[in-house]
Amino acid sequence: MSKAVTSKKSKLPLGERVKREWNRNAIVYIFLIPVLVHFIIFQIYPFALSFYLTFMDWKVIGDPEFVGLKHWKYFLTDTLAWKAIWNTVKFSVYYIVPTMALGLLLALIINSGVKSAGFFKGIFFLPVVTSFVIIAGIWGWLFRGTEAGMINYLLSFVGIEPQLFLSDSSQALAVLAGLSIFKVAGSTMIYYFAGLQSIDRQLYEAARIDGASSFKIFWTITFPLLKPIHFFVAITTTIGSFQIFDSAYLLTGGGPNYATTTIVYYLYEQGFTSLNLSYAAVLSYVLFFIILVISLIQRKYLGQESNNY
């Protein structure tokens, strides 16, 4: 039946179809106009303008000067930009899976029927609503590379030499990732908790009657049925990881020796410290394409069949 209707619709001229569509949903479109206008002014227009800027030289005040592909060519040979991209990829490796795992673990804890689940939910969510600056301050205090740092103080009890953490190029990025995981895991927990709540209880009861162990139940029922949540969380944490900036800005200033210079940090430096706004626009497009490609890959391999659940 629906096939027949679709077939009949498609035979109508375009103008007639638009008219019918308008008559049917006019009120919806009218209410969408303000949002659409806002979207065009504050999203599409700046997006297009920054692309235009990538072909110009612009010193903030005055007219931009057309320079063609100069900034794009420079990007290809800019070793610092590539290092920043590589650092961002490394940061993602440290960040994405642990964030998802910790979020899932916290969600399982509050979903397990533990006493005072609401209290734990609040505690786990607290870092999400706390200012990043405050959390970075605490993190800095924990990971100071001297005896004044709490972690080094604790390590001294078990005879471990003080670690440099934020001053060691092999450790700094991982420590910053830890900060981001701590900050974000609470919101990931909420997504997973919502997912866990939506799983049919009967599946668990049937599995228990069949004698399945808790691990088996988790691995064969819970984990696969959370696939849409995995997909959503993977996308959002990936985007978040590629946009990381605050922690490097607040704790390491991109060092030591650029070890924590991420792509957004480098973009910020170029745009607002060096006044290379056009080159910063190029970097922002590079970031956009990276996120787009990763999201499409994730959608292809994680997003398919998500409608089954």
Binding site: I30, K59, G145, D168, L251, F272
Partner: protein, 434 residues
């Protein structure tokens, strides 16, 4: 449905028209309000006519203290003195320190920025070189500029043009913990004046389990490498783009920092540290670099007795000290009024008010007597003669991360001081396209 849709469309259009009308009305009201101030303008009419100034200006400044009530009252008084003199209305806006560059740049780009704003020396030449700042020389006829401290004017001048007038200055020098000095068997009245003397004290401090000083490798080069570089007789880059950071004096400065790190005179995390407050305040450090703010902090905390040393000398006696100044953007609608505001706010009387509240050092000799009763600040005020404001070059800010990276690599032990200095020079030359 079609009728409802049409009705709602009309409603929406109506709302938009009303919105636009309201906006027009607001503008009108604003104009009327401005007009409504005429009686006040008439009161100062004569002054206004003399100066030929009118209209209004917008001024952006940052918070300079934690006491916003006192600071607010000070600004009210300073602005009132200007409004009274000129008849120009001032819209004063306080913007936060965080992300100030973005705020200023985006506002100026949108032609919607302030008429006067506050900058520090590493921003000024960059903005001036990009043609963003109004040159003030044409507005300074008959203005007493000789009263300003020479080292303060250095930072407001780019290529023989004056782009700002300074209101505050700092001088960074070593604050010593008197208890630690006694613990290492030295005399607080005979503080190290040279690198050699400092090294001897540093070694003694280390032997007694103290750090000699703090080094904030994650912070600005102004507080790390540059003072040592200048003291060694070196320079980073000249206005003519000569890169000098890796000459003999430059390498000597890199070597001195490397020695401090390798010898354990500074904490191990100095590579990226942003502060060592906990170590200093708990009495585990002999000295820290500080200025007026550090002194105020020490006095308010009353942790231990401290003494201030003059800036150190190797070949030269120099240190870093920022200079805060007010500038006007080139696209200001009211350049004469903006320039006049800058002159008024940096006058001797207003500098006294401003710096008494903010505890910075005035940039006019005639205003420096405000610290007569405060021995530490009076001492620091005397040291501004040795305080350089940083690297006055359009790329002054952008080359800092390049130098910082090499300094950090050296401290990590991956490059020798000479290699790090050479690499920093090469990176700077790449940056300036040499």
């Amino acid at each position: 449905m079609r009728r409802i849709g049409f009705f709602l469309l009309l409603l929406l259009l109506g709302a938009l028209i009303v919105g636009c009308s309201a906006s027009d009305t607001d503008t009108g009201t604003e104009k009327e309000e401005t007009g409504g101030e005429k009686p006040a303008e008439e009161v100062v009419g004569e002054t206004e006519k003399e100066a030929g100034l009118s209209g209004e200006i917008t001024v952006w400044a940052h918070p300079f203290t934690g006491d916003q009530e006192t600071e607010g009252a000070m600004w009210k008084e300073v602005i009132a003195s200007y409004e009274e003199q000129t008849g120009v209305k001032v819209n004063f806006e306080q913007i936060p320190w965080a992300n100030r560059d973005q705020k200023v740049l985006t506002a100026l780009a949108a032609n919607n920025g302030p008429d006067v704003f506050y900058v520090i020396p590493d921003q000024m030449p960059q903005y001036a070189d990009a043609g963003m700042l109004l040159a003030l020389d044409p507005y300074l006829e008959g203005f007493d500029i000789d009263d300003f401290v020479d080292t303060a004017l250095v930072s407001t001048t780019w290529k023989d043009e004056l782009y700002g007038l300074p209101i505050l200055q700092e001088a960074y020098t070593y604050l010593y913990n008197a208890d630690v000095i006694k613990a290492i068997g030295e005399d607080p009245a005979k503080l190290p004046a040279t690198w050699e003397e400092f090294e001897k004290w540093a070694e003694k401090a280390k032997d007694k389990g103290f750090y000699a000083t703090s080094f904030q490798g994650g912070g600005s080069m102004n507080g790390t490498l540059y003072p040592f570089l200048w003291q060694a007789g070196g320079e980073v880059i000249t206005a003519d783009n000569d890169v000098l950071i890796n000459n003999e004096a430059g390498v000597e400065a890199f070597e001195f920092i490397n020695k401090m790190y390798k010898e354990g005179w500074i904490p191990k995390d100095s590579i990226t540290a942003l502060e060592h407050d906990a170590l200093w305040e708990s009495g585990k450090m002999l000295a820290v670099q500080g200025s007026g703010i550090s002194v105020s902090r020490m006095l308010s905390q009353n942790l231990f007795e401290f003494v201030i040393a003059p800036p150190m000398k190797n070949k030269e006696q120099l240190t870093y000290g920022t200079t805060g100044m007010f500038v006007a953007p080139i696209n200001t609608d009211n350049p004469a009024a903006a320039a006049e505001f800058i002159k008024v706010v940096t006058s001797s009387d207003n500098q006294k008010k401003f710096n008494t509240v903010t505890q910075y050092i005035p940039t006019r000799e005639s205003a420096k007597d405000i610290f007569g009763e405060q021995k530490y600040l009076a001492q620091l005020a005397d040291y501004t003669q040795f305080a350089l404001p940083g690297v006055i070059h359009p790329e002054g800010r952008t080359i800092m991360p390049l130098i910082q990276a090499e300094l950090q690599t050296m401290m990590e032990g991956k490059k020798t001081p000479k290699e790090a200095a050479d690499a920093a020079a090469k990176a700077i030359e790449g940056k300036i396209g040499k």
